[in-house]
Structures are given as C-alpha cells and as structure tokens.
C-alpha cells in the first residue's frame, strides 16, 4: 500500500509522517516490576490530521529489558508463516547489539489505537507491509535503547559515553576493558534522557540483517505443539459446525432436527436468520448431526445468479466511462495516428482463499462479556465487529489471537467471528465453531472477478506509443476502509495497472467500480496486482508479438528510466537461459512488475501436452526488494507466492450457478500439489534500499509469466484465466 492510502486510521482523518518528530513516538522509563522500558508510538497510530504533535503519547509497541538482560518485544503484527516473528526481532537485536535469542516476543492485545500498523493504519497484517512498517521504527528503538544503556554505564564509571561501546548484550569501556551487562544497567538506563540524535548502523555493519537466521516460530510447528485458532480449548468447550444459506442473501425457511438430535453427542441445533449450526461434544458428532438435518432455504433475490451474469455486467461497464487512475499525454489521439493498433480484453475469475486451516472461531458468550479465541490478521476489527454482534461495548470483548494456518487476506475479515458470536449467544458455555471445507469454500469472501478492455498503438518500428486500459470490478477498499476510496478510485484496485515501469508517452487508465450482486469480495494474496499484473504483462507480451519482437528485448527497450526494473529483467532472462532452444510444445514466458515496493521479473517454462494440460516445469525469479532482512525467508516467501499464483493460473476458478458456488472441496477447487510443483530459482539483487514487500509479489508475477509461456509454446493467447485445456488441446 502506498502513502495515499496508508494514513487511514479508521476515523477518516489523515496525518502525514513528516509532521511527527521522533520524540513523539518514543518514550523511555522504568518498567513495571523493574528494568527498562521503551515505548514506541508508530506514526499514524495517534494524533489528528494536520497536527504537528500528537495529542498525548499512545505507545503501540514496547521493548522491555529485565534485570536478567532478557529483552521482551511486544509488537502489533501477526505471524502467518511469513517470518514476521523472526524478522522484526532481528531489527531490534541488530541495533541493540544482542543475539536474536535474547529477544522474546509477546503477543499484542487488540487495541485499535495502540497497535495500528503504520502503513495499513488499522491493526492488521496484510498487504506485504509488516516489514515495511517496522523497518525504521524498530531499528530506531533498538538504537535508542542501546544509547541509553551506554549512557548509564558511562555515568556509573564516570567516563565519556563515546569511549564505550555495546557488544553482545554488554557495555564495554574500550580503554579499561570494564564491562556491565544490560541486565545490570536496565534500572539506571531508565533514568537516562532519551537521545534526540540517534545514529543507525550503516548497512555495511549489519551482522544480523541480511543473514539467513533460523525462524523462531518453527520448532513448535514440527511436533504438534503449535496452537492455532482451531486448537483453542477453553474448559468445557463444545464443538459446532455451521451451514449458511447456500445462496448469498438467502434465509433459513425451516429445519427439521429430529434425526440430528438423535445422533449421539449432538447437544443442540442453533437456528439463525440465514444459517443453522449443530452443537455437539465433538466435531464428528456435529458433522453427522448436520448431515441428518432437513433444511429448507428461501434462496432470496440471487437464486438464479450465475458467473456469466456478473461477467456480462462487468463487460458492459468497460464500455462506459470510469474514474481516471492515471493519464499521460493523449492516448486516443496517439492510437488514432499509430501504424498498428492492438486491442484485447481479459477476464480473471473469482477465487477462494482456501487457507489450510478452515475458518473457525471459539466464543464464550457470558451475560455481560464475551471471550473469543481466533487466529486473525486484524484482531481489532474482530473485536469491534464481534462487539456489535454481541451487543456489548468493545471493552467487554476479550480476544485471544493465535497462530494463523494461512491468511492470504481471508483473515483480514471478521465474518467468521461474527457468525460464531451469533451462534454462541444461544449456547451455554464456550463453543468452537469450525467450518467444514465445503462451507469454507462456498462461503468465502472472494478475489473479485475482473474484466479489462485494452488498446494500444505501435509506431512503424513496433514501439508502443499509446496504452489504454479500462477495467471493471469490485473495490475491496471501498468496503474495508471506506474513506480511502475517493473519487471512484483506490490505490489497491489500480496497483499494477498504473505507474508502470515502462516508458509510455501516451497512457490512460480508468477504473469502473462494479460490485457484483450476491457474492462478497475480499483481499486475496497480492490483491490489486493479482489482477493488474496479469493484464499488463499479458498485453505488453501481445504488443511484442504484434511487433514480431522478442518479449524480453521489447520490454527492455522501454526501461531506460527504470534501471532497477531492467536489472531484474536482465538477471531473470540470463539465469533462465532466455532464447535457448526448447523442445516442441514447450515455451518460456516472462513477466516484470514493480508492486508492493519491490521489483520482480519471472521467467516461467511450461510444457503443453496434446490434451491441453499444462505442466509448469521451472520458474526463475529475480527480485530487488531493497534490503532483504532475512534472505532465507524472502526466498521462502517467493517460492510460496509462486506456488500460490501458479495454483490460480492452472486450476483456480470459483463459479456461481443458481446463486450457489459450484466448487466444494479440494476435488473441485484444486490446489497445486508436490508432483506438479515446478523447480524454482530465486535470485535476490543485493540492495540497501528500504525493504519492499515480498509476501505477495511472487503470486502476481507468475500468472502472466505462465500465460506468456503458454503463448510461446502454443501460439495461443489466454485472455481468460485459469488456463483452459479445451482451448489449448490440439485437434485430433
């Protein structure tokens, strides 16, 4: 997310980063129970729009050093598998001159004001921004604490602080060799003034940042002891599963629970307006009870809705005007005068998240308070929406956050918590509501369907002189953070469609917001770029083909103003052996993007069989993500993103028929498996620029790389994803 959106704080007001001095987001003092405490207030978490100083200090992250020298860090981010719980402590440890195992993490409680992510502005981990938000503040916190510890030691010895240094959790007086451990200094450091001028280490001196350290959260995940939301077991918990109206917006008409109540272990059947839940002693009984229910639904207004209806509406919308997202020069005029004109439309399907951990939430609804166990990327949102559903003030809702068995945007939403609260209101004692996989896939909130209409003009050498794109689809931001949707635009829906790396003299992009009826939408890993990069990189490939030029050379010629983009393109092409011959039926495709603050190029190599099935053999990825804090994690995230995107490109499609999602489980909504997984090579360009996002970039880049490779292999251009074997198969 970029700066125009980042300042949203849930109140509709904005504040700019530069207006806050360091003093305003950092305070130091004694910790309760002894030791030293540094409180950080990350920008955008407090203060009103236009204020030069925030009104009152509201810390949202804490660094505490106890008398044993153990360092505790409380931070407002969630671990979803992306290594945040390791990388953020690395930032502190680097500047504090301690080893990583001296830093211990404590979970942050939900508090919208205190734990706002400086980029998302509401307490949430998403959009590849955990490290981008923490990068500067966490290092400054570490450096501040270090300087205060050094000052405390210098005072004790009666020497100049500049004659002392910090090393391995101690302060050392260089000349005399005297040493004091941080633990011994913690109490007196609390009384030192907070330094106003702090110097951060130069990247050349980093000893932790940029090294492949081991993840801190892993050991519990290989022996079954890690506790995810679905594993919460408050004493006396019962187990429930839920069936929601199969058509979105439908209602429960009637339910006959005679047979269900006869199932051993079934305790109760809960009726809601648009759902039924079966509560039992264990999930086996709950599921069996659910199968025994006779439910009648009133399907409501969307009873005959199909994907084709929605696609048709979107297609129509691209014929009318939209909100101008970016304009350079006069694209219409340039196209009219161009030597060659190229036109294309593209469509991308609805997609489910299908996190491995199905949706679940445990709730103990008591008379005047409500306790919740969940794994979520935005717990303050959970707390607020659960409070509303419970009819309780926010402070009466206690949320325990847990490890997340996959987020990908799904767990930025609180619908599962709301549903669980509705059920728990009718149940005595705590109840764990677990969605079956079928329920999880059929009642997801989906990556939107997109329809895009593009045209371009080429001069007589084949070079693009004009580019036009009008696309239509749902804006997640408009629902999730309404004030950020302004003038018909939001920076998520357009990211990857505008501000391209290519130098295009005439350029015009419009977005038409169309909310599909009868199907909810949500952020999905790589969000806006999951759609836009596919379209942009497919179309530029079409232009190269129309110009009869090599796909890499064609892109390269447009990158004079973007040396970092050119560097990753060159690197990916070289490592992939671009241009070297491949067997018949195989092809290489390239993609290039600058999204989430990172540059990435990918080359995909595919083989298309006679029956039209596509095998993704190899992916070479070159990335410049600025400073790679933990390069091993960056590698892992890219591999992960590529598999996620390849899954979508080859298998991913949610369709509606008669208002119902047609896919149900992993047999009809297929995942890439190990036998289909490509070899993946990731090359990271060394850089000391601030870190860019990397949790999602691999996903958006792979989809067009695959489509372009299929074109190279077969001569068939995919204008609609996923790849359809019926289109690709050879006539017999």
């Amino acid at each position: 997310m970029r700066n125009d959106r980042i300042a949203y704080r849930g109140t509709g007001s904005y504040v700019s980063e530069k207006s806050l001095s360091r003093r305003s987001f950092l305070q130091a003092g004694a910790a309760i129970g002894g030791g030293f405490m540094l409180s950080l207030s990350l920008p955008f978490a407090n203060g009103e729009a236009g204020a030069t100083e925030p009104q009152g200090f509201a810390p949202n992250a804490f660094v505490r050093i106890d008398a044993n020298g153990q360092i505790f860090l409380t931070m407002p981010y969630v671990e979803m598998g992306q290594g945040t719980y390791t990388a953020v402590p690395m930032l502190i440890a680097e500047e504090l001159e301690v080893s990583l195992d001296q830093v211990r993490l404590e979970h942050a409680p939900p508090n919208e004001k205190l734990y706002a992510n400086p980029l998302l502005g509401v307490q949430a981990t998403g959009n590849s921004n955990a490290m981008r938000g923490a990068w500067k503040q966490m290092r400054e916190a570490g450096a501040t604490a270090r300087m205060m510890l050094v000052a405390a030691a210098a005072k004790e010895w009666g020497v100049d602080p500049n004659a002392c240094r910090a090393q391995d959790g101690e302060v050392i007086h260089t000349d005399s060799g005297r040493r004091l451990k941080y633990g011994a200094l913690a109490a007196s450091a609390a009384n030192m003034p907070v330094p106003q001028d702090i110097t951060l280490k130069s990247p050349a001196d980093f000893t932790l940042i940029g090294t492949p350290v081991k993840r801190l959260d892993t050991p519990a995940k290989v022996n079954g002891t890690a506790v995810y939301g679905i594993d919460a077991r408050p004493p006396g918990v019962k187990f429930a599963t839920v069936a929601q109206s199969p058509v979105f917006g439908g209602r429960l008409k009637s339910v006959d629970d005679t047979a269900a109540m006869a199932v051993k272990g079934v305790r109760q059947v809960v009726r809601l307006n648009d759902a039924v839940a079966v509560v039992a002693d264990h999930m086996g009984a709950a599921k069996k009870g659910m199968e025994a229910l006779q439910i009648e639904w009133d399907d409501g207004p969307h009873a005959s809705l199909s994907t084709e209806d929605i696609a048709g509406e979107l297609e129509k919308a691209t014929l009318g005007p939209g909100a101008v997202a970016q304009n350079i020069g006069d694209a219409d005029k340039a196209i009219a005068g161009a030597a060659t004109k190229v036109e294309a439309t593209y469509q991308l399907p609805f997609l489910a998240h299908a996190t491995m951990e199905p949706m679940n939430c445990t709730v103990d609804f008591r008379k005047d308070e409500c306790e919740i166990w969940i794994g979520n990327q935005a717990i303050a949102r959970v707390q607020a929406m659960a409070a509303e559903a419970a009819g309780l003030p926010v402070e009466k809702v206690i949320v325990h956050n847990h490890l997340i068995g996959g987020g990908f945007g799904r767990r930025l939403e609180a619908d599962g918590a709301v549903r669980a609260v509705e059920i728990a209101k009718q149940v005595e004692g705590p109840v764990k509501v677990v969605w079956t996989r079928e329920e999880d896939i059929q009642h997801d909130m989906y990556r939107p369907y997109w329809f895009d209409r593009l045209s371009a003009g080429l001069d007589e050498t084949g070079k693009p002189v004009a580019w036009k794109n009008r696309f239509a689809g749902s804006s997640i931001v408009a629902r999730w953070a309404p004030p950020v949707f302004k003038d018909g635009l939001d920076s998520d829906s357009t990211e990857g469609a505008i501000k391209l790396v290519y130098d295009l003299p005439n350029f015009h992009v419009e977005y038409v917001r169309v909310e599909p009826p009868g199907i909810p939408t949500a952020f999905w890993r790589s969000v806006g770029p999951s759609h836009n990069v596919f379209v942009t990189e497919s179309f530029i490939d079409e232009l190269a083909a129309a110009a009869k030029q090599d796909a890499v050379a064609y892109r390269r010629a447009l990158l004079d103003k973007s040396p970092r983009a050119r560097a990753v393109l060159d690197l990916a092409a070289e490592k992939a052996g671009w241009g070297q011959p491949l067997p018949a039926g195989s092809g290489r495709g390239v993609s290039l993007q600058f999204v989430f603050g990172s540059y990435m190029a990918q080359v995909a190599e595919v083989e298309v069989a006679k029956d039209g099935s596509v095998r993704l053999r190899r992916v070479v990825c070159a990335m410049d993500c600025g400073t790679a804090i933990n390069p091993d994690t960056v590698q892992a995230q890219i591999q992960s993103g590529i598999i996620f995107g390849a899954t979508a490109a080859l298998h991913g499609e949610i369709t509606l028929k008669n208002g119902r999602v047609e896919q149900t489980n992993f047999d009809t909504y297929q995942m890439l498996r190990i036998n289909e997984a490509p070899a993946i090579e990731v090359h990271i360009v060394k850089s000391s620029e601030p870190p860019g996002g990397m949790g999602e970039t691999g996903t958006s880049a792979i989809v067009p790389a695959i489509a372009n490779a299929i074109f190279a292999a077969t001569g068939k251009r995919l204008h609609k994803m996923p790849a359809d074997p019926n289109i690709l198969k050879q006539p017999t």
């Binding site: 598998g81 081991k214 892993t218 290989v222 079954g224 490890l403 079956t436 992960s640 996620f644 899954t647």
Partner: protein, 150 residues
C-alpha cells in the same frame, strides 16, 4: 459404545459412535490437537497419522476400524528414528511457513522414509502428493526429505 484405542503407546477408552472419524476422537475427545483438519475427505493430508506404521488419513478412518492397531500421531513421531530425522531436516531446511499442513507432511514423509530410506523424486511424488500445502513449501519439502535420507 466405548472403543479402546491405542494412541502413541497409551490406551484410551472413548465413548463415541462407531463411525466417528479418528481425527475428531484425537482432536476433540482426547485433546491432541497436533493432528489437523483440512478437508474431511482424504483430499489434503492434513490429518495424516500412522496406523501400524502406515500413513493414514484419520478424517476417513472410523474409530471402530482400529481394533488392536497402534496409532502414532505428530505428538510422538519424534520418538521414531525416521520421524526424528524428518523433524530435524524440516528445521535445518526451514521448510515451515504457516505450519498448519506440516503435521500431515511430516507424518507422510516419515512413513516414506521408514519404508524407503533413499526415496527418488518419483517416490517422493507418490508418497507426498496427497498432502496439500497452501503456503507452497513443496520445493523445500522435497529437499528436506532428501536431506533426511542422507
């Protein structure tokens, strides 16, 4: 009726319907939450346990089918040689991301290694393609199995 089952060397008596899947007996009745629910239809492998050493999907294994069989779960797999080797390789090679699928991956991989100390790529595909990882850790799973096999 009550069923007597043996999990990780310990006897348990559970009073559930005969057709109750082992998965829910483990997770909800016995409180052993290391074994995960992913699909309930033998499509994802998250619920994999060993039954007499054979990798088995506990979500479709009914409690009455167990008889005298010995069930081993992720909580105890580290006590077997193959399980310990796989866990170590998983850590050394940083396989894990969100981790939710990894109990099942480790159970499938340790069953493979116990029966086939030097699996080929094709053996790995055969043994592991029933285990979905939505975080896409496949490249590292393959490498880690080879590491453990050394």
């Amino acid at each position: 009726m009550a069923f007597n089952i043996n999990v990780n060397g310990n006897p348990h008596s559970v009073d559930v319907d005969a057709d109750t899947p082992l998965l829910w007996v483990l997770r909800d009745v016995l409180g052993m939450t290391g074994t995960k629910f992913g699909c309930g239809m033998a499509l994802c492998g998250a619920c994999t346990v060993h039954i007499d050493g054979i990798a088995t999907r506990s979500c479709i294994t009914t409690v009455d089918s167990l008889g005298e069989s010995k069930v081993t779960t992720i909580e105890a797999i580290g006590t077997t040689a193959a399980g310990a080797a796989i866990q170590k390789a998983w850590l050394d090679h940083e396989v894990v991301q969100c981790g939710y699928c990894q109990s099942g991956q480790i159970m499938s991989a340790s069953a493979l290694l116990a029966s086939n100390p030097h699996p080929t790529d094709a053996d790995i595909d055969d043994a592991m393609s029933g285990n979905i990882c939505r975080c896409g850790t496949y490249v590292r799973i393959r490498e880690a199995i080879k590491l453990a096999a050394q």
